[in-house]
């Protein structure tokens, strides 16, 4: 199947699509004189799919994520989540930011429960779910610690399970491992793959690391800068679960190479 066609045609948006983005544009400032940050973005994400978006800094990938999170209204076009347009913040989205964004006055468990507190979900049920999630990422024993007592990798794990607590339809991740050292980052990639496989969540993962994108995703969308546009789309056909060693294989290298070429062709990587 031609990956490009699949991504570019919103008509494919079937009932299994969690996210459908249809001719989305964003202009900062006035319509005629402003800066065009995103231009005519269309793609869709199927239920349970893991999508990575790679692109150089300034290509608007974080802006796109903000629109999908309902934090920023698009200038043109529409993004729908499970069939309803995203017009503002909603309760069925989980966002993981570049930094863990934990509240230092809340313990690990209380941080994980923040979305449940905000949305006034059943306390007992949520507490049990939070403990399950804490175990899922190997943080048992740390649930009553405060964030400053945790390492960077542990903090970001808390950030991830906090985004899962209210059982959102999609997990939006904005370069969540960018601030971690290379070793921790790889560990977190393995862990995220496991969380994704165990939870069956749909994930949109933004990164500027090509190999991270290939390692994690079913499909890699390349974005190009000024204005932010969708370039090529690659289906990553590597068996799951992928061990870290997959990065040393020829097939993996070929994907990375093709994506790098696509990025460079568009004047991408600075």
């Amino acid at each position: 199947m031609n990956a490009l066609d699949r991504a570019a045609s919103p008509s494919r948006a079937a009932s299994t699509d969690v996210i459908a983005v249809d001719h989305l544009s964003l202009t900062y400032g006035k319509k005629d004189t402003g800066v065009l940050a995103l231009s005519d973005i269309s793609f869709s994400i199927a239920n349970g799919e893991f999508i990575s978006i790679v692109g150089p800094s300034g290509c608007g990938k974080s802006t796109l994520l903000k629109i999908l999170a309902g934090l920023l209204p698009p200038s043109e076009g529409v993004a729908t989540l499970n069939g309803t347009p995203i017009t503002g913040a909603r309760r069925d989205i989980g966002v993981v930011f570049q930094t863990p964004v934990l509240f230092p006055w809340r313990t690990v468990l209380q941080n994980v429960l923040l979305p449940a507190d905000v949305q006034k979900l059943d306390k007992e049920k949520m507490h049990k779910r939070a403990m399950d999630l804490v175990r899922l990422v190997g943080l048992e024993g740390f649930e009553n610690r405060y964030p400053r007592e945790l390492s960077g990798g542990m903090q970001q794990r808390v950030g991830i399970i906090r985004a899962l607590i209210h059982d959102p339809a999609i997990l939006l991740m904005d370069e969540p491992f960018g601030a971690l050292d290379a070793m921790t980052r790889e560990t977190m990639n393995v862990e995220l793959q496991r969380i994704w496989m165990e939870s069956g969540k749909t994930i949109l993962f933004i990164t500027h690391s090509t190999s991270e994108a290939v390692y994690l995703a079913d499909r890699v969308i390349v974005m190009t800068a000024r204005p932010g546009k969708i370039g090529d789309v690659f289906d990553v056909d590597l068996p799951r679960p992928r061990p870290l060693e997959v990065m040393n294989t020829e097939a993996f290298g070929a994907y990375v190479k093709r994506i790098r070429v696509a990025l460079n062709a568009d004047g991408g990587l600075d």
Binding site: L71, G88, R91, V95, V101, F103, H166
Partner: protein, 267 residues
């Protein structure tokens, strides 16, 4: 630093300074009404406390300070919150805030005494006025200090403005608010004393004033000593509350407090 050994050294140093002071005053023959020796100061302190004169006036000043602190900081917190949360309120109040902030508030003391008399009210108002600004400025700064990502996190969860305020902005502002409270406490004491200087029937400030007329310099020194201890205790109380309530804040020096006092502006 710290430890029993250093503590002993500290005490020895203080004793040495007092000893040198005593000796120099006695040898040089400086009159008592210019610089009294420490022994006279402690005698004045002893007499003042035993005669129940100091405790009476102490209670007056303490009451004025605490009431002024409570009134001033309560208003400062409310107004600071309004300004931080509403651009419109900020727009209309801004000229007043700037004007008052650069004005030495103690200069209003004579007016306030004329308006509110020699009793408790004028002292409380003056103390409140002086205590007001450091907390208001810190409340505004604190409530606005929430990182954009934290706000975005709350918004992405579809949190209401009230939830964002109570679950994020307010706890986030607590370190600032407590820095402001520590300054406000000391400022309230200053405000009360200055108002007593201007016109009062009771209080430690009034006592200093009347001792000055009688050239009782040893007495004045003894009261200064009491005032500095009072300031220390009041400040310590706020610092203790801060440590308990803002437990997540890692603080190892007093530098931060010094910085925030600059934010608070002048007395």
């Amino acid at each position: 630093m710290g430890g029993a050994k250093h503590f002993t050294l500290r005490l020895l140093l203080i004793a040495a300074v007092l000893g040198v002071w005593e000796t120099l005053v006695r040898i040089s023959g400086v009159p008592e009404y210019i610089l009294p020796p420490p022994s006279s100061i402690f005698r004045a302190m002893y007499v003042g406390i035993m005669s129940n004169v100091y405790p009476q006036h102490f209670m007056v000043t303490l009451t004025e300070t605490l009431l002024g602190f409570m009134v001033g900081t309560a208003l400062a917190f409310m107004l600071g919150t309004l300004v931080a949360l509403s651009r419109r309120v900020e727009y209309f109040l801004y000229p007043f805030i700037v004007m008052f902030q650069s004005m030495p508030k103690v200069a209003l003391a004579p007016l306030i005494v004329v308006w509110f008399g020699l009793g408790l009210t004028s002292k409380v108002i003056n103390a409140a006025l002086v205590a007001f600004f450091p907390l208001m400025v810190n409340t505004i700064a604190g409530l606005r200090s929430a990182e954009e990502d934290r706000i975005n996190l709350m918004r992405s969860l579809a949190a209401s403005r009230t939830q964002i305020f109570f679950m994020l902005q307010l706890p986030n502002a607590l370190p600032y608010i407590f820095a402001g409270l520590e300054i406000a406490m000391i400022f309230a004491l200053i405000g009360a004393i200055v108002a007593e200087f201007v016109g009062a029937e009771r209080g430690l400030g009034m006592l200093i004033q009347s001792m000055n007329f009688n050239m009782d310099v040893a007495g004045q020194f003894s009261i200064l000593l009491i005032l500095s201890m009072l300031g220390l205790i009041l400040n310590g109380m706020v610092a203790y509350a801060r440590k308990r309530l803002v437990f997540w804040e890692v603080r190892n020096t007093g530098e931060e407090t010094a910085n925030s006092s600059q934010k608070g502006g002048s007395i």
